[in-house]
Symmetry: C2
Subunit: 375 residues, 2 copies
């Protein structure tokens, strides 16, 4: 039986491949996936549980309901100087569904979407699942910077959107205000959507500016975000999209037919997160400690490390250590010293691997000891 | 800014339209949406809560994990005489996402999908969102029966799938074993997927046979189901897909990129539902009571009622009461007597409305009293 060509042709996840490979070894230090070791705050869970016990388990309102949508808008405005209100926001089933919904809402078959490598792996299949074409632009050789000049070389009449990930997974790079400003000025009069994946923007160690604070792109900007990383709530599947009010009915139709609505308990947890757990400095500080430990440690072993200014990943160049292809390198490292990392290939960039800082410093120190023995 | 043509052209939900209209009136008896008044069993909630407190909130395993997939397969086999195992099952974010995932996994632009009217409203947009074409076949004039002869008149070289809803939302019709058997024999050697939406199959008042019990269509059968209706768990967003093992990697990729995974707590609740709350006779009995009250009551007022053999809806013919178009009729009924129902038009069939039996007999009796005054 023939299935959809788009689905048939999707690449298998390299992250999953490495994970499965890792099951063949004992005592692996797993630094592959972006699932925080830090638990959802206990008090948040207990409060959500209390609301469960009151027992409202019907379908939540379409789009998540006005209360949470307003809270999200106000929270974004407070932290990022934006000026959104409830009508700009729809709640999604994780930022995965926010992204999927955004992409599907805007793309027609044959459209082109500009994606910068190294990229978050889901961008490519999401575009392909809409029968559209990812246009990959390598920025690993140009210090991971994006300029209007670079955009000018890749935009075509078919370009429907450009995706930015800021802070960037996998590099940890945070775009500067000047960099974003120049991009926004350039794109302001283009018929091109800007998708800003800002899921890591509560975990930053430098100045941070949201795409949402640039009024000149307001009509074309779609921000995706969620609670998975900011509140260690990955398993709750709670995300959201902020965009032009005119798009809301379309997001609502698309998301409604795809998932119905987010889970009602997860919506309650998100409300609690926004109202009672909005001080997240402690979380960023914990990740910063790990960055500050791991960066010099890897450098002292001869690795190149992209300076991490946000999120909780290190993007590591191993070309002085090995000439291997990144998948072979990651498998070899797993085999030799039982440290699991994601090959750069998964993000469209050879010569690197990504290391998740989702274990504590003690475990990271153990990983460093093991890497000393890697040949 | 131009968005996706597929999303741009989606019809607005008539159910939502009626719902919004109903907000203009006081003291409305809302019989529109399929959200049970019966609560998720309290003990199930409390047990799920206990598991919350143990505090595992990371990403659940891809596809939901082997434990729950095995439980689902065994439960289906037990109730419906099928022979599935864990490898046939993927867990989804509600049966909405099960349906969306199934449709997207198999469809290419231009494919045709046969849908019988009256239909569950989401089928049409889901097909359109894949840039494919819904082929609507009216069975309201032929006693809601589907035959090989009927299929033969609508299948073309472009037909990629046929969708069956059994028990049927909105009619409450349950397909007989002979009816399904003849369909399966006919489709067995066709290159056409069978999508069987069996979400209501724990709420039946007659003999029931799953499409899964017909081996001749095993390679082409995709069943979607979930816990929303069987366990009154709509707000938990917990569904699943059962299909050929060969499709599992594609479902996994598709669902993984769309939503990540179901919410971890909802997966736990589903495990409890399957292991400790599998006796659902009381639930079916409660709905049957409502069917048995409401059917003769409506008939005595001059309405035609499709005999309800499953699910919790009555599909009601009003042509002896009014010559209005179904949307006008529903709005007029709301205006005159403040009873909200869904116009047949929402399901592709004029001359009818759908009434949800998601309130108790006392409230239904009040609705009947009001309908007596409708002119």
């Amino acid at each position: 039986m023939k299935i959809s060509s788009a689905i048939q042709n999707l690449q298998r996840s390299l992250i999953r491949k490495i994970f499965e490979e890792s099951l063949n070894y004992q005592n692996v230090i797993n630094l592959t996936i972006g699932d925080p070791d830090i638990a959802t705050p206990k008090e948040l869970v207990l409060e959500a549980v209390k609301r469960v016990e009151r027992g409202h388990f019907g379908y939540p309102p379409s789009g998540g309901g006005l209360e949470i949508r307003k809270l999200v808008a106000e929270n974004y405005n407070k932290h990022f100087g934006t000026s959104y209100d409830a009508e700009n926001v729809i709640m999604n089933t994780g930022s995965s569904e926010a992204l999927a919904c955004a992409v599907r809402t805007i793309l027609d078959p044959g459209d082109e979407v500009v994606i910068f490598a190294p990229y978050y792996p889901a961008y490519v299949p999401l575009v392909e699942m809409s029968f559209a074409k990812p246009v990959i632009v390598d920025i690993s050789k140009t210090n991971f910077k994006i300029t209007p000049e670079l955009l000018a070389t890749v935009l075509t009449e078919k370009t429907k959107a450009v995706i930015f990930c800021n802070p960037c997974n996998p590099t940890g790079v945070v775009m500067s205000k000047d960099e974003i400003s120049a991009i926004c000025d350039y794109l302001a009069d283009k018929e091109v959507f800007i998708l800003a994946d800002e899921i890591y923007n509560r975990i930053v160690f430098t100045d941070y500016v949201s795409f949402g604070s640039f009024p000149q792109i307001r009509d074309k900007l779609i921000i995706t975000n969620g609670f998975s990383k900011s509140h260690s709530m990955t398993g709750w599947r709670m995300g959201y999209t902020i965009g032009p009010k005119e798009l809301y009915p379309y997001f609502l139709n698309n998301s409604g037919f795809t998932v119905g609505s987010p889970a009602v308990l997860s919506l309650e947890a998100a409300k609690i997160a926004l109202t009672k757990f909005d001080d997240l400095a402690w979380l960023a500080a914990e990740y910063k400690k790990r960055v500050d430990f791991m960066t010099p440690a890897l450098k002292s072993l001869g690795y190149g490390v992209v300076p991490c200014e946000g999120a909780f990943y290190l993007f590591v160049n191993y070309e002085k250590i090995s000439g291997k292809d990144s998948l072979d390198f990651a498998i070899d490292m797993l085999k030799q010293v039982q440290v699991a990392v994601v090959p750069g290939k998964a993000f469209g960039t050879e010569g690197y691997f990504r290391l998740s800082l989702t274990v504590g410093v003690e475990k990271l120190a153990e990983a460093v000891e093991r890497l000393k023995n890697y040949k």
